[in-house]
Amino acid sequence: MGMTSALAAAVSTGRQVFPSPCHSVMVMDLDEPLDTAAAEKGEAALRRLSEADPALFLSPSADLAAAARAASQHIYSSLAPLSLAQPPPLPTLLTDPAFDAEQIWSQIELLARPLLPHLRRQLRRLEQQPPSQQPPVATPAVAEGELLEEDGESSESEELKNEEELEGTEDEKESEGTQDEEEMGDEEEEEAELDGRGGNGVEDKFLKIDELTEFLEKGEEEEYGGGAKRREKKAAKNWMVESDGEDDDEDEDEDQLDLEDFEDDDEEGEAGGGDIRYKDFFEKGHHKQVKKRDGSIKKVQFKDDQAHESELDDSENDDGNDEQEQGLSTHEKERLKMRAKIEQMEKASLEPSTWTMQGEVTASKRPKNSALEVDLDFEHNVRPAPVITEEVTASLEEMIKKRIAESHFDDVEKPTMLPSKAPKEHKELDETKSKRGLAELYEDDYAQKAGIAPAPLSISDELKKEANTLFKRICLKLDALSHFHFAPKPVIEDMSVQANVPALAMEEIAPVAVSDAAMLAPEEIFEGKGDVKEEGELTQAERKRRRANKKRRYAASHKERPAKLQKD
């Protein structure tokens, strides 16, 4: 598209442009009749532009601009019949001087844009198809096509890309395309057809019809030996040019290897069916019988330098192989298949296995995120979560209804309140007149206090007293723990006072502190004889006597204790 952009630039005056070098490919006239005068003018204009000194384009020139406009108009009109929408939206390019470069460019774009993907598709199709045989020399227009094809598809595509004339190359491609379709073998033609038409409905980015057919064919080959089809393919390939031919043959080479090695039978299968062709005998086939063995040996070293020779051998050996295979019995075919499988499996077991088969694999030993794709098998120790089905709900509701009917609920219950206060003791007042006189009551009280008469203590009183004393002890301890200012031990009221005083003294009038009524008589303080000696004052005889007395008393009190056992 370099030229057209240069043209567009040149059309507008006053712009600097650096023209790209133009490849000149001769213009091809189309089949449809053109206005010859206009065509000549256009061609003249094009020639003029191509011959112009590139430096001239740097400065704006009116005649170059006019030439550019004429040339682009010519190209446009020759391209217009090829556009996809017939009649094209704009039959001729409007190139009045009034039109700006942008406007002319947009007109061209209007025509060219829908064409480009169409052309690309054609190109891709051409590339994918195996190059067909020599098309018959039909028209001079096609001769060009032949030349291009022989150069190889890559160069062809280059040509297409570097095109100067859209319509010219377009024309070539179309013609080639049709010829390819005519000349191809059966299968390839089918493939092309499928490409063109069948793909529309079924194909998407996953499913490709040609891949499908390839796969099916491969499968069939494996199943049935594939003699017929392969021969045909080879027949087609024999016409191929070197580069592609070598690749394919080497691939087939490798496939054939196993069969070659284990080939025991040596059938000279001439009468191996009706697949004998002219080419087998008159093109390369006459080497077949002689060189078969050598060919097979050569095959083992499969990267040969003598490419061409090996290729020949390959081709003829393939043919020979096919013939042999057709003559094999089913048992032998199965054996061959088995051997192939064995080979495959042996090869696989020699390679390192995938990480899933490798036992303990840490994260560093396997590719990143590979554990996410694999379905790992864990033993789940957890019971799965319950699925709430109708039955579950029904059973729950059954249970609930039963409980309601029984009124058996697990509600929170109100607690039994602990009494915060002791229950009031209601003393019942007995209103009958007491039988005992007042003096008798006083007598009883006095007797109790003096300890003369035994108090009628009941068990409950004892227990109560004990409980009382325990409680007081606890209170004392709590007070000690909780108060900063500790209250001293309370006076326990039932401390009995020893009255070691005669009755007379109790009635003393003088105050207690002063009176000596509580005073004890000396003999009440101390009983015994006068001379009491201290330890220090004792004489030794005295001490001995004291000790002897002590021992006597001790012996008397501990008479019943058994004698110490003698240690043996």
Binding site: R383, I388, R403, I404, V412, E413
Partner: protein
């Protein structure tokens, strides 16, 4: 207030530590009492202590006979006053989660919902304590589906962590008019198949979220344990044709709870002791039934 809390917590831990020997003592007393009642001789291992224990037995009344367990400790005052619940979510809740929490607010009587905002858990717990709230419930989610429930009893009490499964909210049900309004009376509770010790513990935790109902209340909340999955169901019943026919109408959300942890502190105490932790990766996990047979 802080010192009181600390002291109370220490008391609680101390009484928990005493629980073991106290239980043993109770066992001995019980055996002596049984032997005395039946007239059989006292077991030989108890003869030394028999004298002291006999006196204690005599002094006991029926209240003191049963040994105090920690469970009773935590929920002792729960029955006296009604529970007060605060519901909140994890941070940045999605719309379905907030809807679910609103439904739970209606399910639990005496409850309040609070927006989480950017509060920290310790702040929330502090404010709950100062407002005399008894239980804090947190709801967590995963991509709109509620998937976690944390029930924390507040003074110092236990925290139970549940996972939620198969949540069906009232909002999901299209025909909301047919369901009608949810009754807000205090519900009756059904706690089915909580037979082990941990099951009993879970039952008390769930039970004390609800206040004492009136006997004639028509609202029923069910926690049914099947295979360690607790099903929550909320029904309203009617007895249209006499006492025998019962017409159940399901109201309110339904979900499955799965207990995975019980801690002996509140939510904010990370280092609190765990009473129970689910261990699903041990080999015997399939056979274990922690909540009930």
């Amino acid at each position: 207030m802080l010192r009181r809390n600390i002291r109370q917590r220490r008391e609680y831990l101390y009484s928990k530590s005493l629980e073991g020997p106290q239980r043993a003592l109770f066992e001995k007393k019980r055996r002596i009492r049984a032997a005395l009642e039946e007239g059989k001789p006292i077991p030989t291992e108890l003869r030394n202590e028999e004298h002291d224990l006999r006196r204690q037995i005599d002094l006991e009344d029926h209240e003191r006979q049963v040994p105090k367990s920690i469970v009773d400790n935590e929920y002792a005052t729960a029955t006296v006053r009604e529970p007060k619940i605060l519901l909140t979510t994890s941070r940045n809740p999605s719309a379905p989660l907030t809807q679910f929490v609103k439904e739970l607010k209606v399910v639990f009587p005496n409850s309040q919902r609070m927006n989480r905002g950017g509060q920290v858990i310790s702040e929330i717990v502090e404010s709950c304590r100062s407002h005399d709230i008894t239980d804090l419930i947190l709801v967590h989610e995963h991509r709109g589906q509620p998937d976690g429930l944390i029930v924390s009893h507040l003074p110092h009490g236990p925290t139970a962590y549940f996972g939620l499964l198969n949540v069906v909210t009232r909002h999901d049900i299209k025909d909301r008019k047919a369901m009608g309004k949810m009754s807000e009376a205090y519900p009756h509770l059904i706690l089915d198949n909580f037979s082990t010790q941990i099951g009993e513990r879970t039952a008390t935790i769930l039970k004390h979220l609800f206040p004492v109902p009136k006997p004639d209340s028509k609202r029923i909340i069910t926690f049914a344990n099947r295979d360690d999955y607790i099903s929550f169901r909320h029904h309203v019943y009617e007895k249209p044709g006499g006492p025998k026919s019962i017409d159940l109408k399901e109201v309110g959300p339904r979900f499955e709870l799965r207990l995975y942890q019980i801690k002996l502190g509140t939510v904010e105490q990370n280092e609190a002791q765990s009473e129970f932790v689910l261990r699903p990766y041990i080999n015997a996990a399939k056979k274990q039934k922690t909540l009930g047979a």
